[in-house]
């Protein structure tokens, strides 16, 4: 579209009469021609669409690419050992559970905290149940659910500077660089899956 405007190609648009009258009025108010007003409106609209598209492409695909890159980097550095290095496999089995953990923590604490322990989560059990029923399904045991996710992310945790400290019946997550998880908010959760399908 942008190139056709630059090359001054002729584009014929059929506008409904009332929209044409509105644009005509707008053009007279602005002191510009009707054609220019239509071009400017289209450009503005395209700019807005591009901004929105960029934001959602970050959320839906680029964030996963970046996470995959981090995992591969850690594999090369020898911090992480994985048998399968297939992107789809890593995203599905490791990055998405990490996204679920990030979502739960952001919903609970407002942002990703530097440290989270089981005791701390148990003290916020009511909120935790609400969050998990929203992002997964109802009736799950929140602590078991989180433990399950932690178990899944264990192999790739060093790639995201996460330290998992486990002792008898207790666990603690220490995030070295919380900013690495910021863009994983929503990844692997039910609302986002449904949004993509529709």
């Amino acid at each position: 579209m942008a190139s056709s405007i630059r090359e001054k190609q002729r584009v014929i648009i059929e506008l409904p009469y009332n929209i044409y009258r509105t644009i005509e009025k707008l053009a007279y108010i602005r002191g510009s021609t009707i054609e220019n007003t239509i071009v400017e409106l289209t450009k503005t609209l395209l700019g807005i669409v591009e901004d929105i598209d960029s934001h959602y492409s970050l959320k839906y695909s680029k964030a996963l690419d970046h996470a995959y890159d981090l995992v591969l980097r850690a594999v090369k550095e020898g911090k992480v050992k994985l048998r399968k290095k297939d992107k789809a496999y890593i995203v599905e089995n490791y990055v998405k559970p990490l996204g679920v953990i990030a979502t739960i923590l952001v919903d609970l604490y407002g942002k990703i905290p530097k440290r989270v322990s089981k005791r701390d989560l148990e003290s916020r059990l009511n909120n935790l149940e609400d969050t998990i029923s929203r992002i997964a399904r109802r009736g799950l045991n929140p602590i078991k659910y989180i433990l399950n996710k932690i178990e899944k992310i264990k192999p790739i945790a060093p790639a995201f500077d996460i330290e998992i400290i486990e002792s008898e019946g207790n666990f603690e997550l220490v995030f070295g660089n919380t900013a690495l998880l910021e863009n994983l908010y929503g990844v692997g959760t039910r609302p986002l899956r449904r949004r993509i399908k529709t």
Binding site: K62, K114, S117, G176, A179, L180, E182
Partner: protein, 312 residues
């Protein structure tokens, strides 16, 4: 230091030394303490970019950005899926700049609205950069608070905030306004707002200890009063840095170099000018910056240890 820190340099008033402070911290941390630092220029007026980019290097950076399809600092907030352009500052290894562009001046004039999720995405991008460039510090230079998006981005992206206080009648009250407006909004949009690391007195004369002492006491009073006004407990650290970033003629000429590749201030830090006057000023500046960054890191370490002990 194991985990990277994100520090925002923020002030209500313009012309108090945000850019000079950001540049000094960046240079001090990377050159003197051998840390890896990214300076982010979020000011549409591109002052920090002007410090480190000459006309020659700016045109090269713009050309490279166009050719490699990379964007400038503020583009990342509007279009977060893009890749940023990172400029490695010549002469100081480990010091990087994410520059601003003069085109943002026009956009800022029409008003930029930054929703919270975009600001959080920006922090995510900075997080990725810390990993890619193996950074220890990210220092974000904000514009004065007349731009509305400052609080949102600072609240989302900075773990700590630092404010410069220049010598002058309006500077000390402006710290009070900053804390009140910033924390009033930040505590709502981010449940745990950034920690106030302290105010740094700037542009005071080195021999004027009486005025410095008086100003320090006034800033302390203002800070504690402002925190009380927004119903928050004051920060666990002394609200004013012991180190003062003194007036130095070299810092007043920090911006606006037109030709060459190495920035003016970097040339002085590396000791390229060898006249007696330059040497004296350079030594003073280096000693000043060294004590500033030492205190800066001490405060960060102390706060990190405090947080750790509180959590455990």
């Amino acid at each position: 230091m194991s985990s990277p820190t994100f520090t925002g340099i923020i002030a209500f008033k313009g012309g108090v030394g945000k850019t000079v402070l950001s540049a000094s911290l960046g240079i001090g941390l990377s050159y003197m303490l051998k840390r890896r630092v990214l300076l982010v220029d979020l000011d549409p007026q591109a002052n920090l970019s002007e410090v480190f980019l000459t006309e020659t290097t700016l045109s090269a950076v713009i050309k490279k950005a166009f050719e490699t399809d990379r964007v400038f600092s503020f583009d990342l907030i509007i279009r977060p899926a893009e890749n940023p352009i990172i400029y490695e500052i010549p002469g100081i290894p480990g010091l990087y700049l994410l520059p601003s562009h003069h085109k943002f001046m026009r956009e800022a004039a029409y008003g930029i609205n930054v929703p919270m999720d975009r600001a959080v995405s920006f922090r995510g991008i900075l997080g990725r950069l810390t990993k890619e460039l193996e950074l220890d510090h990210v220092i974000i230079d904000f514009p004065p608070q007349m731009y509305q998006y400052v609080i949102t981005i600072a609240a989302a992206s900075a773990d700590y905030i630092v404010t410069p206080v220049a010598k002058g009648a309006f500077s000390i009250p402006s710290v009070g306004y900053l804390i009140e407006t910033y924390y009033d909004v930040a505590k709502v949009i981010r449940r745990e707002p950034s920690v106030f690391l302290g105010a740094i007195l700037t542009r005071y004369d080195e021999g004027n200890s009486k005025l410095i002492k008086l100003s320090r006491e006034r800033v302390k009073e203002t800070v504690s009063k402002s925190f009380k006004n927004v119903n928050l407990s004051p920060p666990p650290v002394d609200p004013v840095f012991d180190t003062v970033l003194y007036y130095n003629p070299l810092l007043t000429k920090i911006r606006g170099q037109l030709i060459g590749f190495t920035p003016y201030i970097v040339k002085h830090i590396l000791g390229k000018y060898t006249s007696d006057v330059s040497r004296r000023l350079q030594d003073r500046l280096k000693a000043n910056i060294a004590s500033l960054v030492r205190e800066f890191e001490e405060r960060l370490n102390w706060l990190a240890a405090l947080e750790k002990s509180r959590e455990s």
